[in-house]
């Protein structure tokens, strides 16, 4: 691993982009990715903070209370972004895993490995807020609503991925085995999703699953969109940190690390 990484670093210092794909190949080099993550991290973090403050202020103060759900609806400003991110992160993880498996790109594996716990926490957050939301809406902490159920299964998929990864001592084997699992899992996610919807539509009144779907007015909606964006940027910031520590762990024997530190 060391010869390739040093060679790649040399080629980056020679300047003159050789091809349109050079930026992509450079991403595969740990030192380059490490430096890039270090440079991007504050931008992502501050953007996320500003967006989060704006979105939270808009959601908690500016947006009017719902005529039916009163102030209880405001939890969607956390619930919806977390739920969106939980699925997006899984897809991103599977794409990174596929890239790592097909092109044998070590950094893609590092990215996938760094994704999993973050995605799992987004899923937990979506489940917890959904459950809190359910208390005033449905009167129970847990309802076997199709969305909550498929979110729960998604959490199981994350946990299985992390369990498989931790059961190998050898990083390379853990990478490849868990990458395959992520790909199999992402192929199954739509099947799980639709089977759960179908399962639920058979024996439950559709009124319950309608919560959340009614169209939202702009005054209530804009903080939501801002917060979805904020969560996305926050994920990017977190990933910069996690990717850096993942690179440090994997490259702990590499010589370029002395230059960085």
């Amino acid at each position: 691993m060391n010869p390739t990484s040093t060679r790649l670093r040399d080629s980056t210092q020679q300047a003159r982009p050789a091809s349109r794909w050079l930026w992509f190949h450079k991403l595969g080099s740990p030192p380059h990715a490490y430096r890039l993550a270090t440079r991007l991290r504050p931008w992502f973090l501050w953007t996320a903070l500003v967006l989060m403050l704006a979105g939270t202020y808009g959601g908690l103060v500016l947006a009017p209370a719902d005529y039916q759900q009163k102030d209880a609806f405001r939890i969607i400003y956390v619930h919806v972004p977390a739920a969106i991110l939980s699925l997006q992160v899984y897809v991103a993880m599977a794409i990174a895993a596929a890239i790592g498996l097909i092109w044998r790109m070590k950094l893609a594996h590092a990215f996938a490995a760094a994704c999993a716990p973050v995605g799992a926490w987004f899923t937990v957050l979506a489940l917890a807020t959904g459950s809190i939301y359910g208390k005033p809406m449905w009167g129970t902490w847990w309802e076997w609503d199709p969305r909550l159920t498929s979110e729960l299964i998604l959490l199981f998929l994350y946990l299985g991925y992390m369990a498989l990864r931790s059961s190998f001592d050898d990083t390379q084997r853990a990478d490849r085995a868990s990458a395959l699992l992520a790909i199999v899992g992402v192929a199954n996610v739509p099947i799980v999703k639709y089977s759960v919807v179908w399962w639920n539509s058979l024996h439950q009144a559709p009124t319950i699953s309608k919560i959340g779907t009614p169209s939202i007015t702009l005054s209530m909606g804009w903080p939501l969109y801002v917060l979805v964006l904020a969560f996305g940027v926050y994920f990017a910031a977190i990933m910069c940190d996690r990717l850096r520590s993942e690179i440090l762990r994997r490259e702990r024997a590499a010589s370029w690390l002395t230059d960085v530190s």
Partner: protein, 270 residues
């Protein structure tokens, strides 16, 4: 794993066939050159079918020699279904309502238990390594193994479930639907489970891990299977869930072997 003479003899026969039908005289080199992809094998359909049949015949014979081990998941299935009346209520009215769910959950757990013996003996005694190096498409070999595994672990459930179902108060008119859902569903369970088993075969104490990986992926099969039986008990049309079960089975048969082969290469290599 105990090395029985039958096992060795069968293995020798398959190895000879693998080498004979290989168009290249250096199977090992081809396998290495092929790397991830199947080493561009065009051995001909006849060769592949013959290998498929040989692997199935070998595994069935091995299962026959260890009949007691094959029976274990089936006994487990019956024991699990016995737990529910004890835990819930002996009233047949109450049990009848949840019988489809009980049977399906029990079938899922027992197929999970049977997975442990799917690849492990072959990996431990080196047979799987030879297969990986043989230059033949590993996906076909593993599909054959999974098929014979289903024949000894899934198919008995199909015949056993109506009997157990009757004990849980299920009317006889539901028998055909119950058997059909299990026949289609346990096939999907075997395919999905084989992918997980191939991934975890090199992990020590991998059985809990296997359950963790496989059960969430198997949930759609459970949903369609149990719901079809439930609908049949209420006298409603079951074509929908049955078709979906069949579609899932075809989907898993067509893509599963490739995932199995990739997983097995990761587990056996290095």
């Amino acid at each position: 794993m105990q090395a029985s003479p039958a096992r060795d003899a069968q293995h020798g026969e398959i190895c000879r066939t693998l080498e004979e039908s290989s168009p290249n005289s250096q199977p090992t080199q081809r396998a290495f050159a092929g790397g991830y992809a199947h080493a561009g094998s065009h051995a001909g359909d006849v060769g592949l079918l013959r290998i498929f049949g040989l692997v199935i015949a070998r595994d069935l014979r091995l299962a026959l020699r260890h009949w007691d081990q094959v029976m274990q998941p089936l006994i487990f299935f019956v024991i699990i279904t016995t737990l529910f009346p004890l835990a819930i209520s002996p009233a047949l009215d109450e049990l009848r309502r949840i019988a489809p769910g009980i049977l399906w959950v029990a079938a899922m757990l027992s197929s999970l238990l049977a997975l442990e013996s799917l690849f492990r003996p072959d990996v431990e005694d080196g047979t799987m390594e030879q297969w990986v190096l043989s230059g033949q498409p590993l996906s076909v070999l593993l599909l054959a193994k999974t098929t014979s595994h289903w024949l000894v672990s899934g198919l008995p459930l199909v015949f056993m479930a109506p009997i157990v179902g009757t004990a849980l108060g299920m009317p006889q008119s539901v028998w055909p639907v119950l058997a059909a859902t299990l026949a289609l569903g346990t096939g999907s369970l075997s395919m999905l489970g084989a992918v997980g088993a191939a991934l975890t075969v090199s992990v020590r104490r991998g059985s809990v891990l296997l359950a963790l990986l496989v059960l969430p992926l198997e949930m759609p099969v459970l949903i369609f299977g149990a719901r079809a039986v439930d609908l049949a008990m209420h006298g409603e049309a079951v074509a929908g869930p049955l078709n979906l079960l069949a579609a899932l089975l075809l989907f898993f048969i067509s893509l599963g072997p490739f995932a199995m082969a990739a997983a097995m290469r990761i587990s056996v290599e290095s």
